[in-house]
Symmetry: C2
Subunit: 128 residues, 2 copies
């Protein structure tokens, strides 16, 4: 059971890393996306092509963008990644919570919640 969770987390981290850090969304899709991709991010349609187009467009706008994955939480067929999405050097970036659902070792569904990291905070803990 824990082996399966660790395997699912590794798949999700590598998918995310390939797409957003190594800027190879086609390779991420070929290796890790399932036979369908149900998308809940309101900015993208279902399926692999809109995901690839989204990453490409984002990488063109922000060539040095990177995703810093802070923690993952996995249970059953779900993996949550909490991360800081940095668009360019000096950017405080966005806080991101991505939820992925897997079937048979492939990613088939995605939800996310995104928020700009504000300049000031009422605590000293960072958003991460």
């Amino acid at each position: 059971m824990n082996d399966q969770l660790e395997a699912n987390k590794a798949i999700v981290r590598e998918y995310y890393n390939l797409a957003f850090n190594l800027k190879k969304p086609e390779e991420a899709v070929a290796k890790y996306m399932g036979p369908y991709y149900r998308q809940h991010n309101p900015g993208a349609a279902d399926g692999p092509e809109p995901f690839i187009a989204f990453v490409r467009g984002f990488a063109q706008a922000f060539p040095s963008m990177r995703v810093d994955m802070k923690r993952t939480v996995a249970e059953g067929d779900l993996v949550v990644v909490h991360s800081n999405l940095i668009r360019e050097p000096g950017d405080r970036g966005m806080a991101a919570a991505d939820i992925f659902r897997l079937e048979n070792g492939k990613i088939v569904e995605h939800w996310d919640v995104l928020q700009e990291v504000p300049e000031s905070s009422a605590n000293n803990n960072t958003m991460f």
Copy 2:
């Protein structure tokens, strides 16, 4: 192990429900908050009082607010809740991902990511 995860999820759901749906943040804190509370939401300071004040203020501004918990994901000492925070009737609301860390059955740390649900979407799946 799974019993512990289910117990942690029940604690977090009841904490959230007591505070935001039943509008009893003091009771939520008394029952479920640990000896410290490390807050990563940039709008609130550490500890129980800022949490209580935040919920009270929010409930005054939006007396019929409610949190609709869509899914929970638990692993180790963490519980993630993905929910729709509705401020008033007809509100599309906000998407929320809350991450809670527990020690000895009490909540001691909290992160969140919040995003307005947009009016239109590129897919028909909702953000949830």
